[in-house]
């Protein structure tokens, strides 16, 4: 952790909201990303990310300075998203579904082709995550997008390492089955990207 960040944390602990806003600015992307992957919609992700930062600000006195701030705030965001899923049973919406086209992420660039591709990929990712339960989904997100180890995931989600291993095992199996289904000719919306990725990874 850099000195500036420590200064922001120290200032925020004394009630300086502007200092904490700088931390929000720094970590908004990973926190929002976790919430989006968990909840599946930009609106829910924005709300959860905001709430996660509010909870972090209110719990700052309990923050252990020896721990990474990013890990701490991500664990708050993950657990808050899990709670939201359990409470409201938020359904991850497929981005391929035309009636939810307004839920597209921020414009990825000037090229419409690239935008369409990104949208398709996002739809596939959310499709794969949909079938996982809250804890399995959180474990997958933390491992694939944030490179967490089994121990770090266990610490974040308050599970044992062996439980994390078995959850990831089960999640990978479910996602693989779904992916194989998506590649079948009867699944045209995702087929083209699936084939392209299959081609891209054939050399791995």
């Amino acid at each position: 952790m850099c000195n500036t960040e420590q200064q922001w944390i120290a200032a925020a602990k004394t009630g300086d909201k502007d200092a904490f806003a700088k931390l929000v600015e720094t970590y908004q992307k990973p926190v929002y990303s976790v919430c989006y992957r968990m909840l599946g919609t930009p609106t829910a992700a924005e709300d959860a990310a905001q709430e996660a930062f509010i909870r972090a600000y209110q719990a700052l006195d309990r923050y252990d300075i020896s721990r990474s701030f990013a890990t701490w705030v991500l664990s708050i965001a993950s657990n808050y998203s899990i709670d939201q899923l359990r409470k409201k049973k938020v359904t991850i919406l497929s981005m391929d579904n035309e009636k939810h086209a307004w839920l597209a992420p921020p414009d990825p660039g000037p090229s419409p082709e690239k935008a369409a591709l990104e949208k398709e990929k996002l739809g596939q990712i959310q499709s794969l995550l949909t079938d996982l339960n809250e804890l399995d989904r959180a474990a997958v997100i933390l491992q694939y997008w944030h490179d967490y180890s089994y121990e770090e995931i266990a610490d974040t989600l308050d599970l044992s390492s062996s439980a994390v291993k078995s959850r990831l095992f089960r999640a990978r199996r479910l996602m693989s089955e779904k992916w194989q289904e998506m590649q079948l000719p009867s699944a045209p919306p995702v087929n083209s990207t699936a084939k392209r990725i299959a081609h891209e990874t054939s050399t791995i």
């Binding site: 909201k17 992957r37 509010i54 990825p108 990929k121 990712i125 299959a198």
Partner: protein
């Protein structure tokens, strides 16, 4: 080795040594099920790593500032509300208890007042007599004793008197209760 073991290697993403890797590759050539699984896990990992970068719409931290202000204002209003409610309840309880005591002791109130006045008058007479006796002594002792000791003595006497008055009041209350 059994098919299950290869599946476990693939799904756990276990780090394999050279020999295990070679063994897995041989198995994948023979088993279409494991090959599909292997390809699927790699394709998913590739999709996840190369998926779109997600970020909130601009002004996220500004929106956070607005939200935290609202949350804190709500919290402050709640604390103020609880405090005012507690004070109101306490005041109400106090007034009710005073009212009940006055109502209960109304019959004895004139007698109690008279006794208090008599007591104060007796004290005044006693203190006047005491002054006449003690004042010459005090004048001398003031020069000999430190004022701090005199203040201490004064406070102690007041305390004892107060305690005595309270005990007197209580004993009379008990007597009345016994009579009634």
């Amino acid at each position: 080795m059994k098919h299950q073991q290869y599946e476990t290697w693939i799904l756990l993403g276990t780090e394999l040594d050279l020999e295990q890797h070679r063994e897995l590759q041989i198995h994948l050539k023979q088993c279409s099920q494991c090959q599909s699984l292997y390809q699927a896990t790699h394709q998913i990992a590739h999709l996840f790593k190369n998926g779109p970068v997600l970020e909130p719409s601009p002004g996220f931290s500004t929106r956070w500032m607005t939200r935290i202000e609202k949350v804190e204002n709500r919290k402050n209003r709640l604390i103020l509300g609880i405090t005012l409610s507690a004070i109101s309840i306490a005041t109400l309880l106090l007034l009710s208890s005073v009212g009940l005591q006055i109502r209960a002791g109304a019959a004895y109130l004139p007698q109690l007042m008279l006794e208090m006045i008599t007591l104060v008058a007796k004290w005044i007479i006693f203190l006047n007599q005491l002054r006449d006796i003690v004042s010459p002594l005090l004048r001398v002792s003031m020069k000999l004793i430190s004022p701090i000791w005199l203040y201490t003595l004064g406070f102690s006497l007041s305390g004892i008197t107060g305690a005595w008055m309270i005990s007197l009041f209580k004993s009379r209350t008990i007597q009345r209760e016994l009579h009634s």
